[in-house]
């Protein structure tokens, strides 16, 4: 693995927090980041660098990036409050310090040979797709982008209204039917796939493991290439501790791959699915 001399490990400052729904915030951080950031990469954030509680950092995907001329970059992380770390992050105010380590991991691969990108997102798994859509639109490659976004309820379709401006067709599925079709996003995917030409397609997915497992199964059945972005509890996020692993194919056998190094984005063909569900 090539060392990234451009990796930033230091203090970032909170610029602002913008509410994005109940229990969901966009936090903008200013940090001396020199490396280009690819959608699907992540930052490992120490929510309170002056305190040992919580002890470990928390990984977050990039929602957006803003590059400035003065070497300071600001990044937007969209997060939901799910535990102690994110509850503390919610209380950080402008000019508070947070520890920033990143950008880390492998992002999505934009497949320039495909005309239609299908994003399948569940819950807060939506985050990397915002930056991805933005980067695709800037790249000159102009695929049709279809976002299939599932959540429990309409209020949990975080940031969904930011996508049409990026020329993304949005189709929502909610478990309670409060927006879009009632049911699971994976059913929505099955319906859509019937209407599209297989060889035009590339699927990207990020969300709960059970959802991604079904997405990957659909993609395999129809022989559509697919990339999945995984999440695990992490330790160092630098590949040293071996905490965040998933099973990947290794010849006829399998091995544990360190998500922070080789992921979090994987070619779905490499993943061993039983583990992805656990």
């Amino acid at each position: 693995m090539k060392p990234g001399p451009e990796l930033t490990n230091g203090d970032a400052y909170v610029v602002k927090q913008i509410p994005y729904g109940p229990g969901c915030w966009l936090i903008r951080l200013a940090a001396p980041i020199h490396a280009p950031i690819a959608a699907g990469q992540f930052a490992h954030v120490r929510v309170d660098p002056e305190n040992d509680a919580p002890l470990l950092r928390r990984p977050f995907s990039f929602w957006d990036t803003h590059v400035h001329d003065d070497a300071w970059t600001s990044v937007d992380l969209l997060y939901t409050v799910v535990g102690r770390g994110t509850a503390l992050l919610e209380r950080r105010r402008p000019l508070d310090k947070v520890g920033f380590l990143g950008p880390l991991g492998r992002g999505f691969t934009p497949r320039r040979d495909k005309r239609i990108f299908v994003f399948v997102a569940g819950g807060v798994g939506i985050v990397p797709f915002h930056l991805f859509a933005k980067q695709i639109r800037r790249s000159g490659h102009d695929p049709r982008i279809i976002l299939l976004f599932g959540a429990r309820t309409a209020g949990a379709l975080w940031g969904v209204d930011d996508f049409p401006a990026l020329d993304v067709e949005v189709h929502a599925a909610t478990e309670d039917g409060s927006r879009g079709s009632k049911g699971l996003v994976t059913d929505l995917l099955e319906t859509r796939l019937r209407k599209l030409r297989r060889r035009d397609l590339m699927i990207y997915t990020c969300g709960p493991d059970a959802m991604m497992k079904r997405v990957i199964q659909s993609a395999r059945r129809k022989q559509i290439p697919c990339e999945a972005s995984l999440e695990r509890r992490m330790g160092c996020a630098l590949g040293a501790c071996g905490a965040c692993v998933t099973r990947v194919r290794d010849g006829a056998d399998w091995r544990y791959s360190r998500i922070c190094l080789e992921g979090p984005t994987y070619d779905a063909a490499d993943l061993v699915l039983d583990e992805a569900q656990a």
């Binding site: 040992d52 695990r232 905490a243």
Partner: protein, 317 residues
């Protein structure tokens, strides 16, 4: 021991941080502990400034390790059950050694065998590598099958160390487990077997429970507790070994997050310290501590760290 605050503090650049642990001389007393350093970490800190790197434990054959979740944060600490996930001896030599052989700090290689003979075989093979400075015998990992729990038995400990001693001239440190009633007895056994010093403590066996799922939180069921929560246990054990075996080179490990924590271990009897969990929290922790240590020593009028090791005054029990 100059302790008066009236003494003019020495200039920071003259403070001597070097440490001598038996035949092993370290430029400074801060090392990174086994299993908490590797991969991209040398991209975010200057490895050459460290006293040493203790490599993640190498086993004879590759090990896949345990299912996830492999870490679980707990109050003031974390549990891990990685399960000695590693490339195995020959894989390590091919894939990992070329990357670390260029480090200018000391390289200590942690090894773990299923049998005493396997420990010795690992040491013998690694001893052929020119850049290996010392060995740390992991006789105490909590995340592997019972066969590897040599460290809870003084006679087994002595036997393992003795066989490894015959396999190398290089310094040997035995890494001790806290999961014993009398750590000094195990330390004594290690020294009798020919160790040059001891590292303590390894993680404390623990568990986290998800009562709603009625299941353990860790994929490996039980794990090893580390971080600030275990520091008092580690300090007590370092002190016990230092007191029972005066002059034994000790590397202190357990919840060291900053220079004050490190100083506590030095006065309790450790000549050097290893950072573990701190590297996961901030890969730059060792450098932050190295930057702060001279000032800590200067504030008590000390010019040499080693004058300060084991100077805690504590009356007998």
């Amino acid at each position: 021991m100059p302790r008066s605050p009236k003494i003019r503090p020495p200039r920071l650049e003259t403070i001597d941080l070097s440490a001598q642990l038996g035949p092993l001389r370290l430029a400074n007393p801060v090392l990174v502990a086994s299993g908490t350093f590797g991969a991209l970490m040398d991209a975010v800190l200057d490895v050459d400034r460290l006293g040493g790197v203790v490599e993640k434990t190498v086993t004879m054959l590759p090990r896949k390790g345990n299912p996830h979740p492999r870490v679980w944060e707990t109050a003031g600490g974390m549990l891990n059950s990685i399960g000695l996930d590693n490339h195995g001896l020959e894989g390590w030599i091919q894939k990992r050694y070329p990357r670390i052989r260029g480090y200018r700090c000391k390289l200590l290689i942690s090894v773990s065998g299923r049998t005493t003979e396997e420990f010795a075989a690992l040491v013998r093979r690694l001893d052929e590598l020119p850049r290996v400075d010392a060995f740390e015998l992991n006789i105490s990992g909590p995340n592997v099958s019972r066969g590897m729990d040599f460290g809870v038995d003084p006679s087994k400990t002595e036997e393992v160390v003795r066989l490894c001693r015959a396999a190398t001239q290089r310094p040997i440190f035995a890494k001790l487990t806290p999961n014993v009633a009398d750590v000094a007895a195990v330390a004594r056994a290690a020294m009798n077997g020919g160790a040059d010093g001891v590292s303590l403590i390894n993680t404390v066996r623990g568990m986290a429970v998800d009562w709603r799922r009625r299941a353990p939180c860790l994929g490996g069921v039980t794990g090893g507790l580390s971080g600030p929560a275990v520091k008092p246990i580690a300090l007590r054990m370092v002190w016990e070994v230092a007191r029972a075996l005066p002059g034994t080179p000790i590397m202190g490990i357990g919840g060291i997050m900053n220079a004050d924590d490190a100083m506590e271990f030095f006065v309790a009897g450790a000549r050097a310290v290893q950072l573990g969990t701190a590297n996961l929290v901030d890969a730059g922790s060792a450098i932050h501590i190295l930057n702060a240590l001279p000032e800590k020593l200067a504030s008590i009028g000390a010019t040499r760290l080693r004058d300060y090791v084991g100077t805690m005054e504590a009356s007998d029990r």
